[in-house]
């Protein structure tokens, strides 16, 4: 195998493929990228056995077709440190890879291509199309709410629900929940309800910012597969039952208060500066058209921020939130103004803006007794 490629393009390909490679691979070969070079095209594959990717490799010239399995992290680092525009990659019969970049050359040990796990072919026949922008929107507006730490299995992924002309994605960590709904052209009559792992969504997002208008998706009981012009990705689905999310989205709230979105983000961020890890909470007091955010950290001090809340003219209402949860939701909600629906200080708040995004946050309370 021998080919020449643009260093920058090769680096990008390795960064995408490398995001799938497991950093603590059980088998060294899973920390590698599999390069396959044909006369007219080339591709790089990687897998951690949960997620697999096949990525089109932009080559300038193929000298000799062939294949090689190269350590992802090391090759990525070399490509990053080199400065020439072009690099040449060459594998010898002794299992070594030679990389030449300008006046630098590297020789790397490689693994045997036959031992590399087989990456499934994309099942074109079973696939349906989804508008790329809509898929990106579904992912961006929800995936941040997936549980960060390993908790209940179903919380480590987002639910993708397709029914009629609607695709919705829901993610929750048990404390807040984000849901986005997009209208789609579902002429194939696809129905789906699967939990996609958070990591797969991150990889999807990486390859989606490209030239396609439409991406192809295939789903079965165990896997979700996605195909763009440049990439094919398959991921195992999360096994487990997603919590009954509909039951926790308040249908009605006792009252709803409108805020300027930017102003509210700023206010929560400011108040958050005077919280600490043990008491990560910001209190919001509503009274007579004013909202007052306050926070105190025993070891640091206090913060108090006043905001206009013209919708609230009733009696005093106090509720407290983890400011990170609120800010993360406000960042993805669309529109200049946002609505916060509230009922009681121990009941969920519902945040909405323009469009179909819904965000539900449970408050923080003082424990009685």
């Amino acid at each position: 195998m021998k080919f020449r490629a643009s260093r920058q393009a090769l680096l990008e390909a390795f960064q995408v493929a490398g995001s799938v490679v497991s950093s603590r691979a059980i088998r060294p070969i899973l920390g590698c990228v599999h390069l396959v070079v044909h006369q007219d095209r080339a591709e790089a594959s990687a897998t951690d056995l949960e997620i697999a990717i096949r990525y089109r490799l932009p080559v300038l010239a193929v000298v000799e077709p062939g294949e090689a399995v190269v350590p992802a992290a090391r090759l990525t680092a070399i490509l990053r440190e080199c400065s020439s525009d072009e690099v040449e990659l060459d594998s010898d019969s002794g299992g070594k890879i030679h990389l030449v970049s300008g006046s630098s050359s590297f020789q790397l040990l490689s693994e045997h291509p036959e031992e590399f796990p087989r990456i499934p072919e994309f099942p074109d026949a079973a696939a349906f199309g989804l508008n790329r922008d809509k898929l990106v929107s579904l992912i961006r507006k929800t995936s941040f709410a997936v549980a960060k730490e390993k908790s209940r299995f179903a919380f480590n992924g987002a639910k993708l629900h397709i029914e009629g002309n609607e695709a919705r994605m829901i993610a929750t960590d048990g404390k807040r929940l984000a849901m986005m709904v997009e209208e789609i052209d579902n002429s194939d009559g696809v129905e789906a309800g699967h939990i996609v792992p958070a990591r797969a969504l991150q990889v999807f997002e990486k390859v989606l910012g490209e030239e396609d208008d439409l991406v192809r998706i295939a789903l079965d009981d165990k896997e979700i597969m996605l195909k763009t012009t440049r990439a094919e990705i398959s991921s195992r689905l999360v096994d487990g039952s997603f919590p009954n999310y509909k039951a926790v989205i308040p249908e009605t709230c006792a009252f709803t208060v409108g805020f300027d979105r930017e102003e509210l983000i700023r206010a929560f961020r400011q108040a958050a500066l005077l919280t600490n890890q043990e008491t990560r909470s910001v209190r919001m007091k509503l009274v007579d058209g004013r909202a007052t955010l306050s926070a105190q950290a025993l070891d640091a001090g206090e913060a108090r921020i006043d905001l206009d809340a013209p919708d609230h003219q009733g009696e005093e209402f106090v509720i407290a939130f983890n400011p990170d949860f609120i800010v993360e939701g406000l960042k993805v909600v669309a529109g200049e103004r946002v609505q916060i629906g509230l009922s009681r200080s121990n009941m969920p708040a519902k945040i909405t803006g323009d469009g179909s995004f819904v965000y539900v946050v449970m408050p923080v309370t003082m424990r009685n007794g």
Binding site: T172, G174, E278, P348
Partner: protein
């Protein structure tokens, strides 16, 4: 460079036994051994007269009786010891706000900020020893040094009733002739291993290049012991008086193999730990189970639940899961213990959950009701049916 710190380590001499000898003149000059007097009892403290027979704390009472058959054996009077301990800590507090109590009879004091008021480390140590003697009639040994480790070694060196001062800069020379087992964290296995390499005294470690020691012991241990051997220790004296763990353990009169019985005992311990946690308004972020086998091998396992807990049912479930990891049916157990550590204040705010909020509220209500009934009618008055292990 910052100025050297002045740290005192103060340790009451043979504390429990000394209180007994103080309160009963007939015991003075006699070997006195305080501890559990049942068949499985363990020595808590031996007076210096008893130590001459080879009796040590943590030794089984049966062995102590063989070594010192003529000694006076007493059950501990904790209430009295706690009262004396309070008097002693009140004296410490008079000299500095930075007092880190290690147990009833032992504390670190950072007196760096008190020098202008009370004099240098040695002067303060003398004042403390005199005040403790006058107030309680007990002897206390004090070590003075620039850090915790050296201060602790110093206080131990001339017990009982000793005062050892290690001036700043003299730490390494002071430690050089001492045995490696003096190093904090050096257990018998490590000492044995180093002895196999011809390393016996702290000076032998000082003579090694740091990278050689790291090669022998690994990066972490090598770095740790290399620094200690040179008398370096930057741990701060922490005056947080909060309880760092709440635990309960019980030693069986006869070894227990039956897992169902162990689970029942564990549930009792868990309820007691839970009651004490809730009483102190604390929750445990870490649950620890301890098992001791008949040969005194002691194992422990810990688990961090997703959130801090204080309810009996949660503690029992955690304890049981740990027991199943640590214990195989039929394995004889001499002692079982359960504790909550990494404690946080329960009054701190609580992030509510979206799902299962009702179940959570119910569990909370149940625990409150149980606590109220137990407060009124006693700990044995009520117990949920599913609390106990399936009877076998």
């Amino acid at each position: 460079m910052t100025a050297p710190r002045t740290i005192l380590h103060a340790d009451l001499d043979a504390f429990y036994a000394a209180v007994e000898q103080r309160d009963d003149p007939a015991l003075r000059g006699k070997p006195v051994i305080v501890g559990g007097l049942g068949p499985r009892g363990v020595v808590a403290t031996a007076s210096y007269e008893a130590r001459a027979f080879g009796v040590r704390s943590a030794m089984s009472m049966a062995r102590a009786r063989k070594l010192a058959p003529g000694a006076v054996y007493l059950r501990p009077r904790m209430r009295d010891y706690v009262a004396v301990s309070r008097q002693v800590f009140a004296i410490f507090d008079g000299f500095t706000p930075l007092v880190e109590g290690l147990s009833l009879d032992e504390a670190f004091l950072d007196v760096g900020g008190s020098r202008r008021l009370f004099g240098d480390g040695e002067t303060i140590a003398r004042s403390i020893r005199q005040a403790v003697r006058e107030t309680t009639g007990l002897g206390i040994s004090v070590g003075v040094a620039s850090n915790k480790f050296v201060a602790k070694v110093a206080s131990d060196l001339r017990k009982p009733d000793g005062l050892v001062v290690v001036p700043p800069g003299e730490e390494a020379r002071f430690l050089a002739p001492l045995a490696i087992s003096r190093l904090w964290g050096a257990g018998p296995r490590l000492v044995e291993r180093l002895r196999g390499l011809g390393l016996d005294r702290i000076r032998d470690l000082q003579a090694l290049a740091p990278e050689d020691l790291r090669r022998i012991l690994g990066d972490r241990a090598g770095g740790h012991f290399g620094a200690l051997a040179r008398g370096l220790d930057d741990r701060e004296v922490s005056n947080q008086r909060e309880t760092h763990s709440i635990s309960r353990e019980t030693t069986f009169a006869r070894d227990v193999c039956d897992q169902a019985r162990l689970e029942r005992v564990l549930a009792e311990l868990a309820r007691d730990v839970g009651r004490r946690l809730r009483h102190a308004c604390l929750r445990a972020r870490c649950i620890r189970l301890k098992l001791r086998l008949p040969d005194f091998h002691t194992f422990s396992r810990q688990h961090h639940p997703a959130r801090a807990i204080d309810r009996d049912a949660d503690l029992i479930a955690e304890g049981r899961a740990l027991l199943h990891r640590l214990h195989d049916e039929g394995m004889p157990v001499r002692l079982i213990g359960l504790g909550g550590a990494d404690l946080v204040e329960a009054e701190a705010q609580e992030q509510l959950e979206l799902f299962g909020a009702e179940a959570e509220a119910r569990a909370e209500g149940l625990q409150d009701a149980l606590d109220r009934i137990r407060a009124r009618f006693g700990a044995e008055a009520i117990r949920p049916l599913d609390d106990d292990a399936p009877s076998s």
